[in-house]
Symmetry: C2
């Protein structure tokens, strides 16, 4: 599948950090960065942007904040074709947390919001545009949004200067026909804008849904090494990059980083396909209860988790 | 996705046995059987049918042979709605290995063949039809078959009395658009017949490809508990059953069997998504070299495996 407009974003550290409070050491982040540069990845999302006003640095590693000096310790001035992205959660970030882009190591800000926060997300995104950043809005948990509210949110984006909107399957609940329907809806509401896709792997469909998004003209695609990310994780970047035929992409550097860093990490953190995450995805639920179960000593008692979640005959 | 014609086949023991020479103890097979009965699965494939003329019982467990007495030890006369299936590989089975269906514990024979064996497969399938069995032909490794040869094979099936033909993605090489194209081709060549789908999970697409097959009117669908099967394994039965909306299906018995039997097994055998299997799938290769690598002590040296397989710039 070759289409020159396609851009790939690595979210290994940002989404993976949801599993370890962003306690990746510099070597890990450097290995991911080097792999992205060598593989021809378009963007690497280093983490979240927030401040100590909202979160403690004792409990959260540096990639929860992405202070410029921490990132520059890894990438210097990032004199590479790889662009760096940072995610900003509405309600957990302030305008003054962003330097002018010309003074920042970052190229792009992705503004994450729930549907009721879309007005604030547009304002934050336009603030970052005015500071010189590339900008996206990532509308999370769309599998729980009523059509009337989604239409209004799309209208808000249409009226804005925001160039890119993401379809985000936060709960790993969707399958291909739902991705197709949303891609068509987003494109119809936002002619000429870029639509992105960010999946989760609860039902082992993150990569497949990303392919479906590609087929339906989504051009910003997220993946993470070995699929590391919250709960069941994301679309594995190595699956996505080995599928895309763009000659600028190389897979070998990803395999090296997986061997050096992700396989060891996988022995410490249980992301990926596990039955509690599947059940959460099927039930279209936030992964928090499945993650708590997986971190408890009842982790292997998946039948008890099933019985705690499936209280009607939905899954019988 | 509800369509009353859909039939689900569990191949946990048959395909999983490719990873342990069918050395499942009776308790394991009984747990899978009970789960299938309680979950409303349509068919359980207990194993292969072959004889000691072809394979040693020293090296292979009972489910490589599926002698009637071994199976009856688990299921008695199988007085349940679950039908039992056995797979016959062309070249490794003889006509006299099949009792008349009225005397057998089995309801269905699935004849597996490569494209050059289609004539023999049709003859074997019709022999089994005449003995009273339900019959399918599973044309393996279709991702390596030239279109001219596939057309001839489809024509052979069209001229036969064989009611069901499977699309088999033996190497886990395919993605949705290829499944769609094959489903349309098989249906066009075989109007009115049943088309089945059996996927492998090298690229994390086995379940997604099964959904694609459903969308394109394939009605016989294979899955295995926790996806156990050769190499990267199969479509996870629990994903498939929790996707299908047919009220006759129940998921909880599958979760119980996974907890009791599959999770313990997963600590002994490394099926599922691993980078060597991904590389094999992308390269459209038989999984034997990736399996040998995974069983060796170089298992975690995935970069060396990559370099041993990718000798040109295909994956760069």
């Amino acid at each position: 599948m070759f289409r020159p407009q396609i851009r790939v974003l690595d979210c290994t550290v940002r989404d993976g950090g949801l599993m370890n409070e962003w306690q990746f050491d510099d070597d890990f982040v450097r290995a991911v960065y080097n792999a992205c540069v060598e593989a021809g990845v378009d963007y690497m999302e280093v983490g979240y942007r927030t401040s100590e006003k909202y979160f403690s640095r004792k409990e959260n590693g540096p990639w929860k904040f992405c202070f410029e000096e921490d990132v520059r310790r890894i990438v210097g001035d990032n004199n590479t074709p790889l662009k760096l992205s940072v995610m900003a959660d509405i309600g957990r970030v302030d305008y003054e947390d962003f330097l002018p882009a010309s003074e920042s190591v970052f190229d792009m800000v992705r503004v994450a919001c729930y549907v009721h926060q879309m007005d604030k997300a547009v304002a934050t995104a336009e603030h970052c545009l005015d500071k010189g950043y590339e900008v996206t809005i990532n509308l999370m948990a769309v599998s729980k949004v009523m059509e009337r509210d989604l239409d209004e949110a799309l209208d808000d984006v249409a009226k804005s200067r925001v160039p890119t909107l993401y379809i985000v399957d936060s709960f790993g609940a969707m399958y291909c026909e739902q991705v197709e329907a949303l891609a068509k809806k987003y494109h119809a509401a936002l002619p000429g804008r870029t639509i992105g896709f960010h999946g989760h792997n609860n039902r082992q469909l993150a990569f497949a849904n990303t392919i479906e998004a590609i087929i339906h003209n989504c051009n910003m695609l997220d993946g993470s090494l070995l699929g590391v990310g919250r709960g069941a994780g994301n679309c594995p970047l190595e699956c996505l990059m080995s599928f895309l035929k763009n000659p600028k992409f190389r897979v070998r550097p990803l395999v090296k980083a997986i061997q050096d860093k992700l396989i060891p990490l996988s022995k410490q953190i249980a992301w990926g396909y596990h039955i509690p995450y599947l059940i959460g995805g099927v039930m279209n639920e936030h992964p928090r209860s499945a993650m708590a179960w997986m971190e408890s000593d009842r982790r292997d008692d998946i039948l008890a988790f099933y019985d705690s979640v499936v209280t009607d005959d939905t899954l019988a």
